[in-house]
């Protein structure tokens, strides 16, 4: 996990003050995993952190194999050193009813509005109001106090994906403009000022693949134009490089020395006699290489041929690995060129479970995203 950019996360002076961590990323990049690991990291050392999702996706509950999150906040995880992570799934309908109740003391009238479809209307249809309500609930949680202190040390928001994140966060600005006057207008303005303040950071999760990196670059530009602050770029699911760096270009071309590979396999106890050295693998376009291999093969392949075949197949796998490793290296360069704090999270063998979340949280702390 080297390769941190010139601006590694530890160098960012302001991160300690951030109270709202918005985590976005292209679909499939592991937004919910990173959000959960970040919440654990923030809660480490005896703090209380809220982990909120806003799309009703229940990504966090699935991740933890837990009951679906609901509207009342509930304890999800313990963090090292006595901390705890609470979970919340913000539902716009509930948020609106709660809001109406607090602002207008609407007990029965609230239910009437619901019957008329006004709640549906307001939350699924009124442009941007849904996002205003969702961020509104998060805003409330960020500012909530109990006993003179903040109820939560920090709030982590598992936010909509990069394609929608700027629109989501800007909804309050638009609402403030659209609803001239009225309590929603005022609230929208206060939410917007929190989102634009140094107390909020938008972290972007990406894989070292072309499309997610490109979408991240586009999101960064949109966020910048919208006046929203970017926090850390999280390079997720980074695979370990398994070949010596010097071998990557030739491995990617399928040009590793076939004789040397076969010799290595023999040494490892996987083959018969060593074929003549010096022959390079022919680059195999698609599966064509394997097909020709099949036709050339005699009915009773001897050990030498089996060995050559094994070497060829392994070379094909190595070629894909090397091509990907080279692409990752190039894309890491792109990410570094953004000059933002960057952390890398490894791809861990067996998918994500609770144990791996703690390990990822440890990585985030060690790389300085959380102190």
């Amino acid at each position: 996990m080297s390769g941190k950019g010139p601006a590694s996360a530890a160098a960012d002076p302001g991160i300690g003050e951030v109270r709202l961590h918005v985590v976005s990323g292209k679909g499939g990049t592991g937004k919910s995993t990173v959000s959960t690991a970040l919440a654990i990291a923030l809660a480490s050392g005896g703090r209380r952190v809220l982990l909120a999702e806003v799309e009703g996706r229940q990504g966090i509950a699935h991740l933890l194999g837990a009951e679906p999150l609901g509207y009342p906040e509930r304890r999800l995880l313990a963090a090292p050193g006595g901390g705890e992570v609470l979970g919340l799934s913000v539902q716009p309908e509930a948020a609106l009813l709660e809001y109406l109740d607090v602002a207008f003391h609407l007990g029965r009238a609230g239910r009437l509005l619901e019957k008329l479809g006004a709640i549906d209307f307001a939350t699924t249809v009124a442009p941007g109001l849904r996002d205003v309500l969702l961020t509104g609930k998060v805003y409330e949680a960020v500012r909530r106090r109990s006993g003179g202190e903040y109820a939560y040390h920090a709030v982590v928001l598992d936010a909509p994906p990069t394609g929608r994140i700027t629109r989501f966060l800007r909804a309050n600005g638009e609402m403030a403009g659209l609803a001239s006057g009225g309590p929603i207008h005022n609230q929208a303005e206060s939410i917007m000022s929190l989102l634009r303040s140094p107390r909020t950071a938008v972290h972007l999760v990406t894989l070292l693949e072309e499309m997610p990196v490109q979408e991240t670059a586009e999101a960064l530009e949109e966020l910048r134009v919208a006046g929203l602050r970017t926090g850390t770029v999280v390079l997720n699911l980074v695979r370990e490089r398994l070949l010596p760096a010097a071998d990557l270009p030739s491995a990617a071309r399928g040009a590793l020395d076939a004789g040397a590979v076969s010799a290595g396999l023999v040494t490892a106890g996987l083959g018969g006699r060593t074929p003549a050295p010096g022959r390079a693998f022919v680059p195999a376009p698609g599966s064509a290489g394997r097909e020709s291999g099949t036709t050339e093969r005699r009915a009773h392949p001897d050990r030498t041929e089996r060995l050559a075949r094994l070497a060829e197949d392994l070379a094909e796998e190595a070629a894909a690995h090397a091509a990907r490793a080279l692409l990752e290296e190039e894309l890491r360069g792109t990410a570094i060129s953004w000059e933002l704090p960057t952390v890398e999270l490894p791809a861990l063998g067996n998918g994500v479970d609770e144990g791996t979340l703690y390990e990822l949280a440890r990585h985030l702390r060690e790389q300085g995203m959380v102190r």
């Binding site: 479809g117 249809v125 010596p244 392994l314 894909a320 091509a323």
Partner: protein, 383 residues
């Protein structure tokens, strides 16, 4: 352990079937719907079909290679397509605002249309409303099919990508949700000023409604509600049109000349979404062609992970052949990863043994030009 062997999805047979005139690629976000749609469209075209592919928000490089460098919702011919089999390929990007405008234009007088276009509520609705993209994707599919039906020499296959919704089901549900909203009780109530007089209970209802709109007005700010009311009044003539259209397009999806392809990756969430979608299609009587499982990682070599790992360790201990040790580790990783992928897909095929499946191996690099789309097309066809 016995695993259910699902039927093999034969993409070439599907593409060759001239009775199939619309192919809809669905699935949750980030599974490769757009590239799957583009790869199948290209393959169909090069096998002799006259294809139009509707993409939604394609990555820039893919858009460029499809000749879609400039935005705009006109279909453009894709350069570099092999037309020796007599086929052709045109591509387009969904422009939801433009499509919505066209729906309005088709149903309202020019003056009414102008009034609607100028309304701030319509402007928000047509560009940023949750569900508009899905509705307009479906609307566009309906229009492309209508055009294909009217021009016998034109397209004979429409391939559509669906919006990157959180749930694949949104593609089916959002249009109805929008149509029912536009026709909904609430909007009608908002559009009708509370009447006075009449029977006693009506007065009560009116008062309640008046109270409710009053609250909405206080919550949203008065201007929003006035915009909505003006919008609804202007839209009045269009209402029937909206509902009918949404219903008609929805029913078209049930006809046998449509085929759904569900796209997933061997990740739990993507497979869960695929599962929901498959069940829904069955309930609705919508024709499912099969499931594409993208980005599988099948190993090439037949060596077990354990032997490969042990052999790599052996070389490490000897301090020799670092490259070969690395290759063996790559193989061991790949085998284990593929085992996990198989276990996850087995859960899907166990629950849906009747669904034909094709597994597509991950390509080492992104798919963004015609050669890589062809490669993906071959993989889709051969499994």
């Amino acid at each position: 352990m016995t695993t259910v062997q699902p039927a093999m999805l034969k993409c070439d047979e599907l593409l060759a079937d001239r009775t199939v005139r619309a192919l809809v690629c669905c699935g949750s976000g980030g599974v490769g719907k757009t590239t799957t749609a583009a790869a199948l469209a290209l393959r169909a075209a090069e096998q002799g079909r006259r294809v139009v592919v509707l993409t939604i928000d394609p990555a820039r490089r893919l858009a460029q290679s499809l000749g879609l460098a400039e935005l705009g919702d006109a279909a453009r011919e894709v350069p570099g397509v092999d037309d020796t089999a007599g086929g052709s390929l045109e591509a387009m990007v969904l422009d939801m605002k433009r499509t919505f405008d066209e729906v309005i234009e088709a149903h309202a007088t020019p003056e009414k249309a102008a009034q609607i276009f100028a309304n701030p509520f319509y402007q928000a609705l047509s560009s940023s409303f949750a569900g508009t993209q899905e509705y307009m994707a479906m609307e566009k599919l309906g229009r492309l099919r209508a055009r294909a039906d009217h021009e016998p020499a034109g397209w004979d296959l429409v391939v559509v990508d669906t919006p990157p919704s959180r749930s694949a089901l949104d593609f089916l549900d959002a249009p109805r949700r929008l149509a029912s909203f536009l026709d909904g009780r609430l909007l009608r109530l908002l559009a009708t000023p509370a009447r006075t007089g009449g029977r006693a209970y009506l007065r009560v209802v009116s008062a309640a409604v008046g109270g409710a709109t009053g609250v909405l007005s206080r919550v949203l700010g008065g201007q929003v509600l006035r915009d909505v009311q003006a919008f609804v009044a202007a839209l009045d003539t269009v209402f029937g049109g909206f509902r009918e259209r949404a219903e008609r397009t929805y029913r078209q999806l049930q006809s046998t000349d449509t085929a759904f392809l569900v796209v997933a990756t061997p990740e739990p969430e993507a497979l869960r979404e695929a599962s929901h979608f498959v069940e829904r299609l069955r309930r609705e009587g919508m024709p499912l062609a099969g499931l594409v499982i993208n980005r599988m990682h099948p190993p090439s070599a037949g060596l077990s992970a354990e032997r490969a790992a042990a052999a790599a360790e052996e070389l490490d201990e000897l301090g020799e052949h670092a490259t070969v040790a690395g290759m063996l580790r790559i193989h061991a990783d790949l085998v284990r990863r593929h085992d996990r992928e198989r276990a996850r897909t087995a859960r899907f095929t166990g629950a849906h043994p009747e669904v034909a499946v094709v597994e597509v191996a991950a390509l080492a690099t992104d798919v963004h030009d015609l050669p890589s789309l062809r490669r993906m097309g071959r993989a889709l066809a051969s499994g």
